[in-house]
């Protein structure tokens, strides 16, 4: 309205005329040419200068519309009318359009040539380019005797011949023809285009991009160049303009693949982007006979894409996509062996760790059988494949108890693993990883004779292989054949002199042999055995296996226990002087003494208590924890009740003092969940008081929270908030850990699976646990050594011991179990039974992929 009033006030015309003019402009904007023409025609008589341009515009639009619809005679009529009202130069563009559609090329060629040789000012540059393009695209010579023939004829021929030379790959002839095109020629952009083509086909992408990008925007060569530039990476497809994208892509496909696939590819692309992955695959599968296929061509690449993409998808997307392939396979509708092979590979490699081992095996073996058919796989290839399958079947299922030490973990499919690894060995006797994995499986199954036989076989097969020598040495150490173990380790050392694992094993084995000699009172032999250790020791005091002070300390204790007490004391004094601090020395000495003497006490305990009571510090705490963890991880470890209490108290006090971020990190990592969880939490609290947003300690805090306290969505939100802070601070280690944890929420860790040796179909095989009115009978408790041990301990424990036990309960043991045990111990009997568990359901043939059910972060630290 404001605009209308403005026009009115400026023009001084009656409002009805102003309104008509406005309507005309609206029709023009909406390409309603006829309506615009009818509206404006009467007004031209009133004010020709003002309204004639609008009438011309309406007629021009109408004529162009007619041309685009192929109504050429009608367009000519409008053009004839326009010639009576519009200036000549304004009509040239329209004439180009009309004549371009005319069958009489000579007619328009002559006319255009006339315009082209006219002085440049008569024609807009864009029209001149359009005109030149139409002349070139006629692919015909100029009419004989035409005034332009002399100047433009050779140039036009030069362009045509140069294009011909390009198509024939006669690269040397192209410059000759282009030499006829002067710089100011109306065809000069065609010359640039042709130079771009030559560079493109000769592999000079940079030069091609330079030429092809410099053409006039609306010219035909510029439009054609977009397809070439797409292949040189000089442009991207305008996917928001589907028609244009298709034309460009079709050009590229015509050039590099085959005509007619652009539409298909764009449809597949659109569906893929919309998340309809299966439908996207189906578009190509239904339309292209050979798809999917194996090969190095574009179809091979795009086939590979569809089978590789799922590995990068989110859990839900992948499940949906795999469902599509699952449906294909279950209907037996695989298009060709390649498709079936790839689907089976995909299924096998995306099987979660909680998958059914039978399925995994059938997928992988199916894949191998088809691979043989499609790609003629070698026995070496199959051996590697079976080796992997054996490794997967030998995965640990995890312990079913709540973190208590309950012996070795059960393997997913031990027998299957043995079969596969044996097969891998047969297929390629040089397959060392298969041999090594089989040794581990035999160990896990406690099939020692088979393991030893295999180790002997490996020693012959791979006499100089370090890993084999180490495995054999381990076997010897287990049988207490230390001399033989030392011989094997020395050979391993010759193979790799710098491997610290070999050096550590050498030190440890020599020490065990010496201890055996000491215990058998062969003192000289014991000392001789320890002598060569000198060359293997290090000055790094923190190396608890190879440092000098720990070596002297151990030897000193052995001397004191079994040999020369004075010599032993001298060695201990030397060790104390070389140790990092007195507390470290005393704790190491105390724990070593307890292990060597197999006693509950040691002469160092009183001094250790006194030392730990003085000035607790985080710096010392790190080494003390490391010493404790070292002895706690050895097979000779003892029950550490007193030591645990002392260390907890020490760390609690140390958390109150000053402590750097690095020290606190070290302590929290060494504490972890379990016995020292409270100490870890004390250090975390201390650091968060100092810096409440510290992402590292917030992460630790999150990880130490019991899983049942963290609701999954809330847990994810917390992790994402910590990640944001870590990214802000650029803490790469924390960022990586958090990203892994957030990813793992999509792919949760396995839950323990029911035992496979129970026949769930047979109701007789399942027996509900008996219900006892007075708790579980004592003989039943014998099957759970920890319970029996705990009950015995609690029966004679004081109130303070019970409080201590509550604090130090085994990792992951729920509090209510502890209460039941204490109650039972007080009553002098075993605890009341747990409610009977529900009868396990038989495993489904296709186990569903579960969403996260528990916090996977629990119990995992850096």
């Amino acid at each position: 309205m404001a605009e209308a009033i403005a026009i009115n006030s400026q023009s001084g015309l009656p409002p009805s005329i102003v309104a008509a003019e406005q309507r005309t402009r609206e029709y023009l904007a909406q390409s309603k040419w006829r309506k615009a023409r009818e509206e404006i025609k009467p007004l031209v008589k009133l004010d020709r200068a003002r309204f004639l341009p609008l009438l011309i515009e309406a007629n021009m639009g109408l004529a162009r519309e007619m041309v685009s619809k192929g109504h050429i005679p009608e367009a000519r009529q409008v053009l004839a009318y326009l010639a009576t009202i519009a200036p000549r130069e304004q009509l040239v563009g329209l004439e180009v359009d009309i004549l371009g559609r005319s069958e009489d090329s000579k007619d328009f060629l002559g006319k255009f040539a006339t315009v082209l040789i006219a002085p440049p000012g008569n024609l807009a540059e864009a029209e001149r380019v359009r005109l030149a393009d139409q002349v070139v695209l006629a692919f015909a010579p100029l009419p004989a005797g035409h005034p332009a023939e002399v100047s433009l004829g050779p140039q036009l021929r030069g362009i045509h011949e140069a294009l011909q030379a390009v198509s024939r790959q006669e690269w040397d002839r192209v410059p000759e023809w282009l030499r006829t095109i002067p710089h100011r020629s109306p065809f000069s952009h065609w010359a640039v285009f042709i130079k771009g083509l030559v560079a493109f086909h000769n592999g000079d992408a940079e030069r091609a991009t330079r030429f092809l990008s410099s053409l006039p925007a609306e010219s035909v060569p510029a439009k054609a160049s977009r397809s070439y530039l797409l292949l040189t990476h000089g442009t991207e497809l305008p996917l928001n303009k589907p028609r244009l994208a298709e034309v460009i892509l079709e050009g590229a496909c015509r050039l590099a693949i085959q005509p007619g696939v652009a539409g298909l590819l764009l449809r597949a692309e659109q569906l893929w982007r919309e998340g309809c992955h299966g439908d996207s695959y189906r578009v190509l599968r239904n339309a292209i006979g050979q798809f999917p296929c194996d090969g190095a061509d574009w179809l091979g690449s795009v086939s590979e894409f569809y089978f590789q993409a799922p590995y990068g998808m989110s859990f839900e997307q992948r499940e949906d996509y795999l469902e599509f392939f699952h449906d294909l396979l279950s209907r037996g509708a695989a298009k060709n062996p390649f498709e079936e092979m790839q689907i089976l590979r995909l299924f096998a490699l995306t099987e979660g760790p909680d998958s059914n081992t039978g399925d995994l095996r059938s997928y992988w073996e199916g894949f191998l059988s088809l691979h043989e058919q499609v790609r003629k796989s070698s026995s070496y290839f199959k051996s590697i494949a079976y080796s992997w399958l054996g490794q997967q079947l030998a995965r640990s299922q995890g312990s079913a108890s709540f973190g208590m030490r309950s012996g070795t973990d059960r393997l997913c499919d031990a027998e299957g693993a043995c079969e596969c690894l044996e097969k891998a060995k047969q297929l390629d006797p040089r397959n060392l990883p298969a041999h090594l994995q089989l040794v581990k499986v035999y160990e896990a199954l406690n099939r020692k004779s088979e393991r030893n036989r295999l180790l002997d076989e490996m020693a012959k097969q791979f006499p100089e292989e370090k890993l084999v020598l180490l495995e054999n040495a381990r076997g010897c150490i287990e049988r207490k054949a230390f001399t033989k173990a030392l011989e094997l380790l020395e050979r391993a050392r010759q193979v790799d002199q710098l491997d610290p694992a070999v050096l550590e094993m050498l030190v440890s084995t020599r020490r065990q042999l010496a201890r055996q000699h000491f215990q058998q009172h062969r003192l000289d032999k014991a000392r001789q055995t320890l002598e060569p250790l000198e060359g293997l020791l290090t000055d790094q005091a923190e190396d608890l296996q190879r440092s000098r002070w720990t070596a002297w300390l151990r030897q000193g204790l052995l001397e004191r226990l079994h040999g020369d007490a004075a010599q032993g004391q001298a060695l201990l004094d030397r060790a104390r002087a070389a140790s990092p601090h007195a507390a470290g020395f005393l704790l190491f000495a105390h724990l070593t003494h307890r292990v060597y003497a197999r006693q509950a006490d040691s002469p160092f305990l009183a001094e250790l208590r006194a030392e730990l009571a003085r000035e607790p510090s985080a710096t010392r705490g790190v080494l003390l924890l490391r010493i404790f963890r070292y002895w706690d991880s050895t097979p000779d470890k003892q029950p550490w009740g007193v030591e645990l209490g002392l260390l907890r108290k020490y760390l609690k006090a140390a958390a109150k003092g000053p402590c750097s971020r690095v020290e606190a990190k070290g302590i929290v990592e060494l504490c972890g969940p379990g016995e020292f969880e409270e100490a870890a939490n004390a250090f975390i609290r201390a650091r968060l008081r100092h810096d409440p947003k510290d992402p590292l300690f917030r992460l630790f805090k999150h990880m130490l929270k019991p899983a049942w306290l963290v609701e999954p969505d809330e847990g994810r939100r917390q992790l994402e908030a910590i990640l944001e802070e870590a990214q802000r601070r650029g803490e790469q280690e924390v960022i990586q850990k958090l990203q892994g944890l957030i990813r793992s929420l999509d792919y949760p860790p396995p839950l323990p699976r029911p035992r496979e040796d129970i026949d769930f179909d047979d109701a007789d095989d399942w027996e509900a646990p008996p219900e006892f009115d007075d708790g579980l009978p004592a003989n039943l408790m014998g099957g759970i050594p920890e319970f029996a041990e705990i009950l015995k301990m609690l029966a004679n424990a004081s109130e303070s011991d019970i409080r201590e036990f509550k604090k130090t309960r085994p990792k992951d043991m729920p509090e209510f179990v502890v209460d039941m045990l204490i109650e039972s111990a007080k009553k002098g009997g075993p605890p009341k039974p747990f409610p009977p568990p529900p009868k396990p359901r038989p495993p489904a043939p296709q186990p569903p992929r579960r969403p996260p059910e528990e916090n996977p972060n629990q119990g995992k630290l850096f």
Binding site: G100, Q169, H201, A252, L265, S280, L284, Y306, S378, W388
Partner: protein, 101 residues
């Protein structure tokens, strides 16, 4: 992208052919001249340089050759040997199509 395609060797190529192709390619794309291409060539070579690597690649590799079907095709075409020029007739048809857009 497939290491075979990056190095321009057939899937059946043996150690020698692959090594030769790698050495020829890095002569053209030295770390100074074209560090990105050099890195992709080196990575591709590492993946298929011997029989063990090739078997492991074929059995276990999980990288997608592109971000989408079209991206894969374009990456393939950009890496593949340069196409031959269109015939004169095909070029005429192509140019006429372009003139109408």
């Amino acid at each position: 992208m497939s290491p075979y395609l990056v190095l321009g060797v057939p899937v059946q190529a043996d150690d020698q052919i692959i090594r030769r192709a790698y050495l020829d390619a890095i002569k053209q794309a030295t770390p100074e001249k074209n560090p990105v291409r050099f890195q992709s060539l080196s990575e591709a070579y590492e993946r298929i340089k011997d029989e063990t690597s090739r078997c492991k690649y074929e059995l276990f590799h999980q990288e997608s050759p592109g971000a989408s079907p079209l991206d894969t095709v374009l990456r393939h075409l950009r890496l593949a040997a340069k196409p031959k020029p269109m015939s004169m007739e095909a070029m005429k048809e192509f140019l006429h199509t372009c003139s109408k857009t």
